[in-house]
């Protein structure tokens, strides 16, 4: 069953994520994707994640699609103006890429080419509107398209945004994204089920499936780093301790992730697992969670 059909059928959704590397070697990425393809509905392909120059998400999405593994093409507004965004979208469609995750994108200054020009001609909301417009047979300027795509757009939200202004604005923007055509939502990494449940209460009535983000921990150091540097991430002390004390980091990481998946089954409409190199352990996470 394709991702869109899974979303439309109301099934509990499972997606994972792969990050193209720096260079042309796709060996490991393809091996990882093959290893999990039967357990998930689609795989996100990141777009120069953290503003680090890498192999492009469109090419990798296309290759996955060719292999029968359904991609979710991540598209950011960081590097492309509205001409390039629309053109890349049409290119994606002819290359068999249908699901697109609309993102604003990190600032280039955070990456490995900090001198690069930040584009941000559009943002995540206008990118979603753009897909709606293309799906309707026109470009942003109102010109008619010969051959019309039918994208299945998604968007993201950060449930761990600063309480108060940060979270309120995330919710307002999420509503705008849904209004602009987002059909599924993936969240930033969640580590704590109680606060996630509170967040889910806030989005009740938004009527778009929300997929809880799960980042697989690699070490206590990584957890501490994310707590300090990644917006909206707060790994609880108990998980940091478990990762520090364990003799088998992978096993503990799988346990933490599967606990989250299990909890989310009754809270939201799916999970998005970011394994960051441990993709092959995703089946274990799902097994343990009883999926």
């Amino acid at each position: 069953m394709g991702f869109r059909e899974a979303v439309e059928s109301g099934r509990f959704l499972i997606t994972a994520e792969v990050g193209p590397g720096k260079g042309t070697d796709m060996h490991e990425l393809l091996e990882d994707a093959e290893a999990i393809k039967d357990r998930i509905h689609a795989i996100n392909v990141t777009d120069l994640q953290s503003s680090v120059m890498r192999l492009g998400s469109l090419a990798v999405s296309h290759i996955l699609a060719d292999k029968g593994i359904e991609p979710i093409y991540q598209l950011t507004c960081r590097d492309r103006n509205r001409l390039a965004l629309q053109s890349d979208l049409l290119s994606a469609w002819v290359l068999g890429v249908k699901n697109v995750l609309a993102l604003t994108g990190d600032h280039p200054v955070l990456g490995d080419h900090p001198e690069a020009m930040p584009v941000f001609d559009c943002d995540s909301v206008s990118l979603l509107q753009m897909m709606q417009t293309l799906n309707g047979g026109h470009d942003m300027a109102g010109n008619e398209l010969k051959g019309v795509p039918d994208f299945f757009p998604g968007a993201v939200v950060n449930p761990g945004a600063d309480a108060g202004a940060g979270l309120e604005m995330q919710l307002i923007k999420l509503e705008k994204k849904i209004e602009a055509g987002a059909r599924f939502i993936q969240t930033q990494g969640v580590f704590e089920l109680d606060s996630f449940e509170k967040f889910m209460k806030r989005v009740e009535g938004f009527h778009v499936p929300i997929m809880g983000g799960i980042i697989m921990l690699k070490s206590a150091g990584m957890a501490k780093f994310m707590n300090k540097n990644v917006a909206g991430i707060s790994v609880p002390e108990s998980q940091i301790k478990a990762m520090a004390e364990t003799e088998d980091k992978a096993r503990t990481s799988v346990e933490i992730a599967s606990h989250l998946v299990k909890g989310m089954k009754d809270m939201c409409q799916g999970v998005h697992i970011m394994a960051i190199g441990w993709e092959k352990k995703i089946p274990m996470v799902l097994d343990k969670a009883g999926i």
Partner: protein
């Protein structure tokens, strides 16, 4: 106002190294206010250049003068005769001042002594901060009087990205997220509903802009 900073001394010295008679020209407007290119800074730069030349055994005569506004040919005309006695001019005006001077004087090279960095205002702590990017379609009426074009690192006009931490921008822990400021202001003004409106991507203006004033 336009905010500028004095270039590193080594760069200025390198720019004028082939000249032995240089006129430093300041501007009495924005760059005087932001303490980078007024009469005082002209004095400081002139004496530093003289001292440096002397210690390196170089022949350098440095003249000084400051106009009220370097970006207006009318003021530049007044120093035409004085300028003629020099091989080069080191302008302490903003980029607009340097160009007006070069255009008006025509056959004397005019070099910038400042890096022009932004438009902004005083930050109340002795510094200045960027607050407008001259986008050509002001949206301050929808953003509580706080400009996301100039003050959000990504110039987002539709609400924040997901990168703010503790209310600070993802690019720097020393900079408040513009949307955090906008939200707080809109709450105070009772205008939070404005955030729900979607702003279409701006029409990017074409450089150079021009403003004609018919008589």
């Amino acid at each position: 106002m336009i905010v500028a900073e004095v270039k590193p001394m080594a760069e200025i010295q390198d720019t004028i190294k082939k000249y032995s008679k240089v006129l430093i020209s300041g501007c009495g407007s924005c760059v005087t206010v932001c303490l980078s290119g007024g009469a005082q800074q002209v004095e400081v730069l002139a004496s530093s250049l003289r001292t440096a030349a002397k210690s390196q055994g170089q022949q350098l005569e440095v003249g000084q003068e400051t106009q009220l506004r370097q970006c207006d040919p009318m003021f530049i005309e007044q120093i035409r005769d004085k300028a003629a006695g020099y091989e080069a001019i080191l302008s302490m005006g903003c980029g607009a001042g340097v160009q007006t001077m070069a255009e008006t004087l025509g056959n004397i090279p005019v070099y910038p002594a400042l890096d022009t960095v932004f438009f902004g205002g005083a930050d109340g702590q002795g510094g200045f901060m960027e607050t407008c990017a001259a986008c050509g379609q002001c949206i301050l009426s929808r953003t509580g009087g706080i400009c996301p074009v100039a003050r959000c690192a990504k110039s987002l006009t539709d609400g924040p990205c997901g990168g703010a931490q503790a209310g600070n921008c993802e690019v720097s822990k020393d900079t408040r997220c513009a949307w955090q400021l906008i939200y707080v202001r809109l709450v105070r003004l009772g205008q939070v509903h404005l955030l729900k409106e979607t702003t279409p991507p701006k029409a990017r203006r074409v450089h150079p802009a021009r403003l004609n004033r018919a008589e």
